[in-house]
């Protein structure tokens, strides 16, 4: 046999590099201890599932770093062994490695501090909700053949309209409906320009984002901010405990004692997945995104399918936008989505255009973003620039190394012109 192909040993090589990082973390580990607290503080709300309490765990940072190094080294060795004996390293190896690696980094970062797991998860989920909705919008749009750069605009429109409508009607649910409509409208604009006027999809997406930012900023400063009570004080959307599920220790309160928008998100992820892969509607949608001409030859209405799917996606992104305001009982603020739409786009690609994977990618990004906040609030001694960088470095390594080659829908970004 000639030289080994690089592709075959990509995973073990990446794992080896990461293992070296854990070695470095162990060698350079500061002396100190990290306290791991599973539940949040005893004096907190005491929601249903909090009844079940775990004792705090204290870990000697250096020791745990060495243990992590040992574990990652073993996993890496296994991966090498698999690859060299011409077998594919199981995906679980990579996932297991990732969990150990992230946990190890967490412990190192929180050295000398208390790390509260439920708080970490809760914060991550909150930050992830708009990302997940946004990436679903991306899935529905790109799967049908339209590149959706305008997720940011859809989120922002959803946030703005939901705050405005909820305040005017004095009903958060009305705000939610408003958000749906707003998101769908933005994506309708995207579709009209991309399909009817065959404008480059990326350009029109960017233009829409700029437009929505300008429009919301303008309206915010002309009437909203000067008259908060009248236009920008959306009523709270009460959170709901799901009977039973919210009793689950640790995870229950995090995932099932939440804003209704979060529950809508669970349904949306499952629903989009089911619709895409199990229904006639989804089959046709994907056909249009892969090879519109072939879809046309079997009588599928290419344009109508594109409009419909993109607009449903936009409506979902609108819901994600509403979470910024209604979900967190906040007033609308200028550019409050803060680039979430672009992160959602990354989650979509990281998730390989699959709604479930994209949702997990959204959670991962939410986790990374939340980490920055929690570390800066506990006052970690790690330089903040490093913290800001970390999630993105990790993402790049993960995407390049473990996900491998990704190919999106073949016709995404291409206009279909009938003769």
């Amino acid at each position: 046999m000639k030289a080994l192909k690089l592709g075959a040993v990509r995973v073990p090589i990446i794992l080896s590099v990461l293992t070296l990082i854990t070695l470095w973390l162990a060698v350079a580990a500061p002396s100190g201890i990290t306290t791991i607290q599973v539940n949040s503080n005893a004096n907190s709300t005491g929601a249903a599932g909090e009844a079940f309490r775990f004792a705090n765990i204290t870990a000697i940072t250096a020791q745990s770093a060495w243990i992590s190094f040992g574990l990652t080294a073993i996993v890496t060795a296994l991966a090498w062994w698999f690859s060299l004996t011409a077998r594919k390293p199981s995906r679980w190896l990579s996932i297991g490695f990732g969990v150990i690696f992230v946990f190890n980094i967490l412990i190192s970062l929180f050295n000398g501090q208390t790390m509260t797991i439920t708080a970490l998860l809760h914060g991550s989920l909150s930050l992830a909700v708009p990302l997940v909705f946004g990436s679903l919008a991306g899935v529905l749009s790109e799967r049908v053949g339209l590149v959706n750069i305008a997720i940011e605009g859809q989120l922002l429109a959803g946030a703005f309209v939901s705050a405005l409508v909820a305040t005017l009607v004095q009903n958060p649910w009305a705000g939610l409906v408003g958000a749906l409509v707003a998101g769908a409208f933005v994506s309708w604009l995207l579709a009209v320009f991309a399909i009817r006027y065959v404008v480059d999809q990326i350009i029109i997406g960017v233009v829409l984002n700029v437009l929505i930012v300008g429009l919301t900023n303008f309206m915010f400063s002309t009437f909203m901010s000067s008259n908060q009570a009248l236009f920008n004080s959306p009523p709270r959307m009460p959170s709901i405990d799901v009977p039973g599920l919210s009793q689950i220790p640790v995870l229950g309160p995090v995932f099932f004692s939440q804003s209704p928008i979060v529950y809508l998100m669970y349904f949306a992820v499952a629903g989009v997945w089911f619709a895409l892969y199990k229904t006639r509607w989804g089959l046709r949608l994907r056909a249009v995104g892969e090879y519109p001409k072939a879809a046309d030859t079997v009588g599928i209405k290419v344009y109508a399918t594109r409009y419909r799917s993109v607009m449903i996606g936009g409506a979902l992104a609108g819901l994600g936008g509403a979470f910024f305001t209604l979900g967190q009982s906040l007033a609308f603020g200028k550019e409050m989505t803060n680039g979430a739409g672009y992160i959602a786009l990354a989650a979509l690609i990281f998730g390989r255009w699959n709604p479930v994977y994209a949702a997990f990618a959204g959670l991962l990004f939410g986790f990374a973003e939340n980490l920055q906040y929690s570390l800066s609030t506990v006052g970690s001694n790690v330089p903040s620039d490093f913290l800001l960088m970390l999630p993105y470095v990790l993402t790049v390594v993960l995407v390049a190394g473990l996900v491998g080659k990704v190919t999106g829908p073949a016709a995404a970004g291409k206009a279909y012109i009938k003769s």
Partner: protein, 499 residues
């Protein structure tokens, strides 16, 4: 169902692709549509199928005028079509492709994939296709993809079936099977329009023949007429169906393949210790049923089979291990098997396609600039020389008729400074006139003292073109024999029995 087209005219800009075309197809009749590349056969069928709207004329089904807004209407009216360029979604499974557009569903639009599989199996068994409903279409060889297209056209119980050059990508055996299917369908009363360039097939199944030239009907013919007559009717001049070539003047063996082996993804041997040599001024034809390692062999030469072992030497220099660009730069001309996938960029113009692999160097570039005037001159010359039927060299390659696309690829590859010429089924999809022309070009290339390697699945082509014939079976070379070998012997070799 009876089908009638009356006075169909279809224009693309100033180009008249169909002019006042009328056609009558009775139920239970196989009606062959003949014509040169670019004569307008596919266009006419696309009008019938609702993909294009005619500028004038009408379509009648059982004497009633119908108007199709799109293919959906045509399908609903009982028309099925097997397209010249596959209308299959590569990432979908066979079953998903087949049911697309008329999916069996359970409650609320949920796909009933079990029913879909059963349906695919049913039709596929009926015609002895042996299709796996769960296979991903993109992974299947072209011949099998063709079957998927046929099943797709049959599944909605079509009364009128259009076959647009279905046999271009089939092996002789598969072609025979398809003929049998068409005959079976004829028995059931289906009206069939069959487009092909192979006169042998026409003579075998046609009940009626209509010939198109330059968008117009030039006449009807009966299947009894001789192949030569049909050919000259199509092209408008006498055509030589036999290749005349002077005896080979052999130089030294400049292209030597020895002990070439390669594995597929799943570890089976696709090339098994293949060895042969080609002399300068010689055409070696690799014959065999498609899928016996020919594709992998040409890929290995081109540098696309990374895991191949052994040796491939051109003028003493090793090709194995080199990248595609290096191989091409060494003077290997290559015509791939799948022109639309690998040979052309559909969105580029003809001129751009003609300089594709040389766009980065002289004479197309000077300094940092593309020399557009030179490109125009170059492209115009080649388009004329190879008789590419197009309005302008600025036309997008994807808009050309199938046969004309093939000519563009050939023109590009043969217009370079070459040391070796490799072509996989160079005349696939070409009309008889063009085949004559391409064969002449290949023989000319050989006479200029180049080693030439041709992959052929048609025995006729192999025997006529080759100086020697190497027959491949299951990745091995069964034998290398002179082209005077009786066909019967060649046929046996193709089934794996060594001579």
């Amino acid at each position: 169902m009876k089908l009638e087209l009356r006075g169909i005219t279809k224009r693309f800009g100033s180009l008249v692709a169909n002019e006042n075309v009328s056609l009558l197809v009775q139920p239970g009749e196989i009606h062959c549509l003949l014509g040169e590349n670019g004569a307008g056969k596919s266009t006419l069928m696309n009008v019938l199928y609702g993909l294009y709207h005619a500028d004038a004329g009408e379509i009648l089904l059982d004497d009633k005028v119908v108007n199709f807004a799109g293919p959906g209407d045509a399908m609903a009216a009982g028309i099925g079509m097997v397209h010249q360029h596959f209308m299959l979604i590569p990432v979908f499974t066979v079953a998903e492709n087949v049911i697309l557009g008329h999916e069996p569903t359970k409650f609320g639009g949920v796909l009933d994939m079990a029913a879909a599989r059963v349906k695919v199996r049913e039709i596929s068994d009926q015609f002895g296709f042996d299709l796996d409903p769960d296979a991903i279409v993109g992974d299947l060889p072209v011949g099998v993809q063709q079957r998927v297209e046929i099943v797709k056209a049959l599944i909605s119980n079509a009364q009128i079936l259009i076959f647009d050059e279905p046999t271009a990508v089939l092996t002789p055996q598969e072609t025979d099977e398809l003929m049998a299917i068409m005959k079976a369908l004829r028995e059931r009363g289906t009206a069939i329009v069959f487009i092909t360039h192979k006169l042998r097939e026409v003579k075998e199944v046609a009940d009626k023949i209509t010939v198109l030239r330059l968008g117009k009907v030039v006449g009807e013919a009966s299947p009894q007429e001789s192949a030569n007559e049909l050919a000259s009717m199509m092209v408008g001049r006498a055509v030589d169906l036999e290749i005349v070539k002077e005896p080979a003047k052999l130089g030294d063996a400049s292209f030597v393949v020895s002990g070439l082996s390669a594995l597929s993804h799943n570890g089976t041997k696709v090339l098994d210790d293949v060895s042969f040599e080609i002399h300068k001024g010689e055409i070696l034809v690799i014959a065999g049923v498609q899928g016996n390692g020919q594709t992998e062999l040409t890929e290995a030469i081109l540098g696309l089979q990374y895991k191949a072992t052994g040796s491939i030497k051109l003028n003493g220099e090793e090709l194995l291990g080199k990248r595609v660009k290096q191989v091409l730069d060494m003077g290997v001309g290559f015509v791939p098997e799948d022109r639309t996938e690998d040979g052309l960029v559909a969105d580029f113009t003809i001129a751009e396609n003609l300089m594709l692999d040389r766009a980065d160097r002289k004479p197309f570039v000077s300094g940092l600039n593309l020399r557009l005037a030179y490109l125009r001159e170059f492209a115009t010359k080649l388009v004329q020389q190879y008789d590419v039927r197009t309005q302008s060299i600025e036309t997008k390659a994807g808009k050309l008729s199938g046969g004309n696309q093939q000519k563009v690829v050939l023109a590009r590859e043969l217009s370079r400074e070459l040391k070796l010429f490799v072509a996989s089924q160079p005349t696939r999809g070409l009309d008889v006139g063009s085949i004559e022309f391409v064969h002449e070009q290949i023989v000319k290339t050989r006479n200029s003292g180049l080693p030439v390697l041709i992959v052929a699945t048609e025995l006729d082509e192999a025997v006529q073109l080759g100086d020697r014939i190497a027959v491949m079976y299951r990745g091995k070379i069964v034998g290398i024999v002179p082209s005077t070998t009786p066909r019967q012997v060649l046929g046996q070799m193709m089934a794996g029995i060594s001579a």
